[in-house]
Symmetry: C2
Subunit: 341 residues, 2 copies
Amino acid sequence: MRGVLLYAPGDVRVEDREVPAIVEPTDAILKVAAACVCGSDLWPYRGLEDVDGPAPMGHEYVGTVEEVGGAVHGVAVGDFVVGSFFASDNTCEICRAGYQTHCVRRQPGAATGAQSQYVRVPLADGTLVATPGQPGPELIPSLLAASDVLGTGWFGAVAAEVGPGKTVAVVGDGAVGLLGVLAAKQLGAERIIVFSRHADRQALAREFGATDVVAERGDEGVARIKELTGGLGAHSVIEAVGTQESMLQAIRSTRPGGHVGYVGVSHDVSLPGQELFFSGVHLHGGPAPVRRFLPELIRLIWEREIDPGRVFDLTLPLEQAAEAYRAMDERRAIKVLLTTD
Amino acid sequence: MRGVLLYAPGDVRVEDREVPAIVEPTDAILKVAAACVCGSDLWPYRGLEDVDGPAPMGHEYVGTVEEVGGAVHGVAVGDFVVGSFFASDNTCEICRAGYQTHCVRRQPGAATGAQSQYVRVPLADGTLVATPGQPGPELIPSLLAASDVLGTGWFGAVAAEVGPGKTVAVVGDGAVGLLGVLAAKQLGAERIIVFSRHADRQALAREFGATDVVAERGDEGVARIKELTGGLGAHSVIEAVGTQESMLQAIRSTRPGGHVGYVGVSHDVSLPGQELFFSGVHLHGGPAPVRRFLPELIRLIWEREIDPGRVFDLTLPLEQAAEAYRAMDERRAIKVLLTTD
């Protein structure tokens, strides 16, 4: 089969790889219908995270179950499934509390290598959710988004305690931030302010439910949020970048007693304790427990209530993965979908 | 009147000071019945915080209303009142959300100088709560505790989402940590583990409801918590110290999805973003909005359901304030009550 490998920063190749086989009785093998490039894939691509190349890439996937191990009972051969990016048993105490990304048997890198034609998914019963039937091709992008970016934006909104009557600010206009806007709208936010400087992303944010756009960043951006909220700050802020500047921008945009939901993978962030203490905000986030939200997200997509697949503004065949990475790195695309056949 | 002044680190003096007068129509003047020394007073006493001496000290107080400004209607001359350490209007949007320490009209240093015979309290209607009648002398220590350390320990427990069925760990065995134990018990915690190396504090913690004591600190302390919780960590951790070590100990003692309530005033703390991100914990805290809890705390004390005044293990006349600071600094006392007549 063909699969994407990152050899070194900037060096993406598509090569022949072994088709994965069942290893544990709890495994499933999927024929991948579509995969994509994640914002977090850009960290090693840009050399900001170590690469132990050649490294199989990709952790977002939808596809059809080809084979299951003897202990798999929740999904069957032929099912179309959406998976989460960490494998989890979905039965341990941590999973039952809704934190499947911290499952006591979690396998963080388990679905790594999803930018390929087949993928092995461990703990299939706890990781995969089948769709109600075979989806039409028009639903594939949205279901694929549910696998990570939608689930992550949704978790950011839930962690930020978004709800009716609240003013929400979103730091980051990548796919996760934009889908944080969509989640905030679905969860009943009254006002949704997105930080963005890119016309195409601003437009999509408004389609997803943003009511205001702020182009300023850092302290100037914070000042704008204060102006828009009677000097108090937003009730809920979704942080979808992961840098020092974005975290401080998120914390400072939040009113005392408000909530920051941070889902941008943290890179070189160090939070000043005293400022945090006197801010009075709630802070929660981390790798999103997408599995918690998948049944509801699949339902919303299946019933055409949401269309998160809109974040894919470029579709390329798997063979052109290198161009997919380049387009995202250069911000020519918000998110790239890779077709596998 | 007599009042405590800190001239420089280690240099506490009791001197004649002007009796305060009404400045704003929202002020009240109290005759202080009892005051005390706070753990946070030890930071400047130890030279770990700058002193702009001579500085009036003290922010915890109970007493009788002597005089009110023309705009005060919630308390009357003769009322016995408990106050919170930040003055707040208790009517703004932030106060109504329960964050009176972040009131848009807050006056953080307002009640400073409470270690004296009289004190001026701004925003009296929003800051003071009258007791149901004149308290007997046996209730004074507990009511005084409500003014800060009980309210702060209580907020730590609420911020840590303590509740029935939960395992709670408490970092810090000072008055706030011990009253965090009491709060956790009241809020229904199933198991309460306190970190402590001092026999007297361990004993009081057990009286307040602690079920387990852990003497180890840092990573060893975290390992003990993991052992006691099936490898998962506590559901709720109350942090009542404010150092880098105590914050990391609190975060690492908490299970993914669990809650850290941090109320130790933060000193030289810098939280590593990546560790926090992958911990999956909730973080909330800051200066406690004691005013939110005062009516309930006064009720519990008045009805003899709780006896937080037990944290005062030394009582001295105001004139011996220097010895009070020394006793707390040298850990000869958990908390010192100062009598004012």
